[in-house]
Amino acid sequence: MRLDSIDKNLLNVLQDELPLVSRPFEELGKGLGISEEDVISRVKRLLEEGVIRRIGPIIDIKKLGGVSTLVAMSVPSERVDETAAMINEYPEVTHNYLRSHRYNVWFTISASSKERLEEILGEIKKLGYELIDLPATKMFKIRVKFDMK
């Protein structure tokens, strides 16, 4: 897809924050020098094209008493698709990547409680593949933003 310079500016601003005001798209438009209507139609197009996944709250589950972890699993390549499909069925599994390593399936679980996390891990262990549970002990950085020039 083609992004013009206004699209790129819009994406840069929207990645940071949608203003929490009555007419947020009008507010964004003011900064970009375009109308509210233009902002909304651009956002709709970027959503349709899959550039924007959604506009909404990014929730910090830990603040709600939740827990998360990273799991590395060693799955034979011919079993990756079916295994991933089973793992991905859990809404608590937020990211899952196939990586080039002996441990090839890497996924994160964000659950509402320690008990729920253990339950999911227990079920996944039953698949019989070697896995490592890698809970974070310290967070140094989380910043998912890319400047588009």
Binding site: V21, D60, N96, T137, F146
Partner: protein, 153 residues
């Protein structure tokens, strides 16, 4: 945090309506005022429950196609210092210390992004020089199997 906050999060976590007054539309479905929706969202942001309110971007769609996880074996007494240095690199989006185990010796995990694998390799080497930590591995992503936001059920 009360029941209405939870309802508000559930209603907006998959995306707000793309209308001139999205919070008024959200308010209508909850039976509260637009002002209350905005106040509650601001409150949850200041409490850190909402980490950010904005757009989630599909990085692959904008040409950021190489994503690598770099893992480092850092002596425990140097983790804080090394973590801070790594976090200062713009191309690093995530940096965590994680539990070591007998199956896995690396304790510092970083996500790096680039337009291609070469960019990620160069960056890892720059980080190694900056920190003096040369015991690392790069695990490139071959395929995205799932990517979703954190949701509450």
């Amino acid at each position: 945090m009360d029941d209405m906050d939870v309802k508000l999060l559930k209603l907006t976590q998959d995306g707000i309506p793309l209308t001139p007054r999205p919070f008024a539309d959200t308010a209508k479905s909850l039976g509260i005022s637009e002002e209350e929706v905005i106040t509650r969202l601001k409150k949850m942001m200041s409490m850190g429950i909402i980490h950010r309110f904005g757009a989630s971007i599909a990085h692959r769609a904008i040409g950021i196609i190489a994503n690598a996880m770099c893992v480092w074996d850092v002596p425990s007494e140097r983790v804080d210092e090394v973590g801070r240095i790594i976090a200062s690199f713009d191309e690093v989006t995530h940096c965590y210390e994680r539990l070591r185990s007998n199956k896995w010796k690396y304790n510092v995990f970083t996500m790096v992004h680039g337009h291609d694998k070469g960019e990620c390799r160069v960056l890892a080497e720059r980080i190694a020089k900056a920190t003096g930590m040369y015991d690392y591995e790069i695990l490139f992503s071959e395929r995205e199997l799932k990517k979703a936001g954190v949701r509450i059920e």
